[in-house]
Symmetry: C2
Subunit: 193 residues, 2 copies
């Protein structure tokens, strides 16, 4: 039998305990965002990737389906952004590429920073019904990150697809993690051609 070609992305070891210690349900938008920010913070603290965290929750109950952090550098994968990994983990755990499957409850993506152009493009394919964002594109850029050529009207574009977006939730707290990361002089991983 021939060897199978494949891709593996690992989340950091500390995430397993982090997930286990969470309360069962995250009630309210702010408590969900606090977890996303805490993920971004822990990822900086443990030096296991960039200052970004995301989770997928049951929109109504706040039950956590999956959570992830940025893994670009340690996993050598430029698309291993927190949002893409959280969506992928949720899909693999629920056994479907389509989180809008009628058998599932409405699901929500919660991210410590507004999605970049790639992640904004990934959201409609995932099947999530709503998105909560913390830090803004301007915050990410002022910390040295490039958000890509995301359409200016991205919130309206997602809304037209039936996906509600809330921005600037606990923005100051989310922004602080980006600033701390930048101050420490850690890698801003954008290829410069």
């Amino acid at each position: 039998m021939s060897e199978r070609i494949g891709i593996q992305i690992h989340l950091p070891e500390w995430l397993t305990a982090f997930e286990r210690e969470l309360p069962g349900n995250l009630v309210g938008a702010k408590s969900r965002m606090a977890v996303a920010i805490s993920l971004s913070e822990q990822n900086v603290h443990h030096q296991t990737g960039g200052p970004f965290g995301a989770l997928v929750v049951n929109e109504k109950t706040g039950e956590v389906v999956a959570m992830a952090v940025n893994r670009v550098e340690p996993q050598r994968c430029s698309s291993a952004h927190a949002e893409v990994l959280a969506l992928t983990l949720a899909q693999q755990r629920l056994g479907t590429w389509n989180l809008a499957d009628p058998s599932l409850p409405a699901l929500q993506l919660v991210t410590s920073c507004e999605p970049c152009a790639m992640c904004a493009g990934a959201i409609p394919w995932s099947g999530v019904r709503s998105v909560l964002c913390g830090a803004t594109k301007a915050d990410a850029e002022s910390a040295g990150f490039d958000e890509g050529d995301r359409p200016l009207e991205w919130v309206d574009q997602l809304r037209r697809r039936g996906i509600m977006v809330t921005t600037e939730l606990l923005r100051d707290e989310a922004k602080l993690v980006l600033q701390q990361y930048a101050k420490r002089g850690q890698t801003i991983y954008q290829p410069s051609l």
Copy 2:
């Protein structure tokens, strides 16, 4: 020791033999595109995913670094588009998230169909220097696929980042695979909310 959370995406088994049987170097843009189209065709033939194929090659010599096909349905992952998987495989094989690393030759992404909004957003993060595309957004849409809210000026946006894009290479051949897939009534995997 706690269990590690992770993601696995497998490419189809036939891809190993396909890769082994390729000529060492793909000289010229059309021979590279012919391989991308052949990947899309084989993926439909084997029923191992959507009608899309992509590869990463050495821009100058045409040496193949990695190749992939769409794996959304079989791997239950809405972001498992051919382009993202080919870029990720190339990065894992070369041991870097940054294909523009000065130690590497210039690398090129070749895709059987123009990138969707997500994949167009992923290209600048990958470090490839140029992109060759076969079928157009209109071709994908006429076969029932949604390309997302990709900015109209995406080619210029990539060019401003130093990434040269060539479109409509062997367009008719690439389009034919999309049409054949649609005719067979195979899944068009876009979540409808």
